[in-house]
Amino acid sequence: MTDAPSPSLPAAVLCLIRRDLTVALRRSADVLTPLIFFAIVTSLFPLAVGPEPALLRALAPGVLWVAALLAAMLSLNRLFSNDHADGTLEQLLLAPHPLTVLVLAKTLAHWLLTGLPLVLISPLLALQLQLPTAAMGALALSLLLGTPVLSLVGGIGAALTLGLRGGGVLVSLLVLPLYTPVLIFGAGAVSGAVTGLDTEAHFSLLGAFLVLALSFAPWAAASALRVSLD
């Protein structure tokens, strides 16, 4: 055993993010699955409600947002479960750094792998649903502000259900009711942009949710992890 000085907090955070990204990219199928899920779910709606462009245009904001919500939720179990299985998580708990910050770093890596790709392909799927180009910016921006909240709040659910039987379904039960405000204002912003309304209020509220989630969710997720690994 050597007494190497432990890395500083920023170094540890960067290292953790880089590690999570590397591990995920080595198993790129894991990264692609939520994206493909997102694409398939949005493509199912025209089949179910008919190809009427006006109808699709009216439904598009809601469909895209609900699909993004489900895709984000689907990837939640990946946030901690692999690290839990191989013991990395216990080492993180023992690390000399505040667990809250480490959880925030892991959540950020998770968002880079799931939320950001959703934001990037959303305009493509929006075209399929006949969303007017004028609303594309609103769609991307609303997802850009909203998906980090989904990752942050979802992290609490993932931490609480760590290692439980039926964790996947349970996490949706815990997390989906908490997602409703983001859904309301995310889809509302896009609908507003389609009809040419002022969407500033929606974006301000989404930003407020993001700030709120950034300040409280890592803290709650960290204490949930401590309970789960007790």
């Binding site: 815990l174 009711p177 409703t180 309301i184 949930a224 309970v227 789960s228």
Partner: protein
Amino acid sequence: MFKYAAPKNFYDLAGRLTPWGAALTAALLLAGLYLGLFVAPPDYQQGESVRIMFVHVPSAWMSMFVYVLMAGAGAVALIWNIKLAEVLVRACAPIGASFTLLALVTGSLWGKPMWGAWWVWDARLTSELILLFLYIGIMALQASIDDPRRAARAAAILVLVGVVNIPVIHFSVEWWNTLHQPASVSRIGRPAIHPSILAPLLVMTAAFKVYFLTVVLMRMRTELLEREKHTAWVEEEVGRT
């Protein structure tokens, strides 16, 4: 006072309080129902349907009261590690969920003759529905963790996350409704409530509250027996009956 934080003493105290609570509930419920069903006059606009309010309003109030109480107990359980608070969180959730369901069902029964629809995406209905989902999530989380301590602490965290979210959800839904469309079903204008309507409402509210206290004590007693089953006092207690 602190004497009753010990499980055995609390168990005995709760056992002594329960019959009184049950009797008081029955008396208040009878009085409230009599006042509500026979004494209160039918509303000039809503007719006899107004009587649904005597069940609906107290249960809606209780659904929120129980959640806030549960959040308080959850905070106490997490901060001071008090076993009794953990037991209280667990005992509250199903009762709160039933009050929420009762509020939704009676609201829908009232909505059909008044609004012409069983369900309307009104802000209050929607936030009550989401509250029901939150309750169900808490119960599901508790049910899937075998270790009672871990279950209680995990549930306490979830309850606290929920209590931060409830105002956010409530206002979101309210703004969503107003941003989307002007209220198509305007709520009946609110004249000052006449005493003949107010009295049964207050009596029913008291009845619901005492009922809750009684049932929560009963649930806490069984929960305590289950948790403390390896201790001497439980063995003695179970052996006696």
